[in-house]
């Protein structure tokens, strides 16, 4: 991931961590970004507790449930978020950053293949990456909101587990609520 127009102000921590994906790729990530993945944060803190001598930046954290392409996107998204340890920006800089982030988000969603969205949510959930989950869950909701039931099933690879007569019964059950007929 290339760093475009990064803020030149130095962050207070430039320690890096290494994350290893399910397909054995290694990602070197700034600690500030990696800590947004609460699962990673927990692992890191557990490691720190269990080892008296500091391990430095050689810790490799395994993520057996996350593929490299997915992690790359999540890291990229994590980098664009306001950093909790960064020096506070003035209002103008904050607004510019917000606009940049919006533009990035729109670009990201546009280029996403349908299946990738589910992988991203799955990974963000596993990593306990709250901001990522929020963003991708919203994207998914926006995507399926106006789609038909058949489309949604296909998209998620869901089998319709209603028996035909069950589904009909269910629709009828709903109908009473809508028609204003008193329930017996």
């Amino acid at each position: 991931m290339s760093n475009t127009s990064e803020n030149p102000k130095p962050s207070s921590s430039s320690a890096k961590m290494t994350l290893k994906t399910s397909d054995n790729e290694l990602f070197e990530v700034e600690e500030a970004v990696a800590m947004k993945f609460c699962t990673v944060k927990q692992y890191f803190e557990d490691e720190k507790d269990s080892d008296v001598a500091a391990r430095g930046s050689t810790t490799v954290i395994p993520l057996p449930n996350v593929h490299s392409a997915v992690l790359a996107t999540l890291i990229s998204y994590g980098k664009k978020l306001p950093q909790s340890n960064a020096v506070a920006d003035n209002h103008e800089e904050e607004e510019t950053k917000k606009k940049e982030r919006k533009k990035y988000e729109q670009g990201l969603l546009k280029n996403l293949m349908p299946g990738e969205l589910l992988d991203l949510i799955s990974a963000a959930n596993y990593l306990d990456f709250k901001e990522g989950l929020e963003f991708f869950n919203q994207a998914l909701a926006d995507h399926i909101q106006n789609k038909s039931v058949e489309y949604v099933r296909k998209f998620f690879g869901i089998k319709n587990d209603y028996e035909p007569h069950e589904e009909e019964k269910y629709r009828e059950e709903y109908a009473w609520a809508f028609e204003g007929v008193d329930e017996d």
């Binding site: 299946g115 949510i121 959930n125 869950n137 909101q145 269910y170 709903y174 609520a177």
Partner: protein, 266 residues
């Protein structure tokens, strides 16, 4: 890459997505996808924000031959399990449904009454306010006994900060009630309201916590430097389009005679 393994995602994730899809999808889409989606769509988190007006006006509206029924409203409110935080009432709400909403939504923070609302149950609303102790935001529609509502809010709703009275008639009594019972109001929307200058000045003088006052397109006052000075504590004061008289559509002799009288008799 991998085939979507939706079954691997826990229910929490699915529920999180469903909280964002809107009431039509929750009623007509999600339940029919499969049984676990139906179950997820019933989760109380999906029913914290309930917009009955969207049902009345959207693609579901053709289901309601005679308007939304009380039973339907109750069944939807039940899904929130007492956690509803925002409700948009339908135009055709019955008194029974309204009382039910008061009893079953103690966590309510925002209540929106539509502008086309039925006048039938107006008298009931003030007495129900005491059930919504967490109320923060209220949109009134064209309620006529607003003063009593404000009085009740003052008594029971300590976190109240946002009022919308779009198109309302803000007479002297109403403005007086605002400054008496809602002096710390932060957001006040009264676009297209009928409000005279003195009432507006009263509000500007007393309501010092105002962050936003939308008094655009009102009939009854014209903004000038003096008003702007009075409103200088408000970071967002909107007054464009407000006029002394109603120059637009002429409603007929009954609607605006009183406005003309006030200014001609000086």
């Amino acid at each position: 890459m991998s085939v979507p393994k939706w079954e691997d995602l826990n229910m929490d994730c699915l529920v999180n997505v469903l909280t964002r899809v809107g009431i039509e999808s929750l009623l007509l889409g999600a339940p029919f996808v499969c049984q676990s989606w139906y179950k997820a769509s019933l989760h109380p988190s999906c029913w914290q924000i309930i917009n009955f007006q969207k049902i009345e006006s959207g693609p579901l509206s053709w289901y309601f031959y005679d308007g939304i029924t009380t039973e339907f409203i109750k069944s939807i409110i039940n899904r929130s399990r007492g956690n509803a935080t925002a409700v948009w009432l339908p135009d055709d709400c019955t008194e029974e449904a309204l009382r039910y909403i008061a009893d079953e939504c103690p966590a309510l923070k925002a209540l929106i009454l539509s502008g086309n609302l039925c006048y039938r149950y107006f008298p009931v609303i003030p007495e129900l306010i005491s059930k919504w102790k967490n109320l923060e935001q209220l949109r009134l529609g064209r309620l006529s006994n607003m003063e009593r509502v404000f009085e009740e809010i003052n008594c029971h709703c300590k976190n109240f900060y946002w009022l919308c009275a779009f198109g309302a008639n803000i007479e002297r009594d109403t403005a007086s009630a605002i400054v008496t019972f809602l002096p710390n109001i932060k957001y006040l929307y009264m676009r297209k309201a009928n409000i005279d200058r003195e009432s507006l000045e009263m509000i500007l003088q007393v309501c010092k916590e105002l962050v936003l006052l939308d008094a655009r397109d009102c009939v009854g006052y014209e903004c000038d430097d003096q008003l702007l000075k009075l409103a200088s504590h408000i970071s967002n004061f909107q007054h464009e389009g407000s006029t002394l008289f109603d120059y637009e559509d002429y409603w007929g002799p009954n609607e605006h005679d009183s406005i003309y009288d006030d200014y001609l008799s000086d």
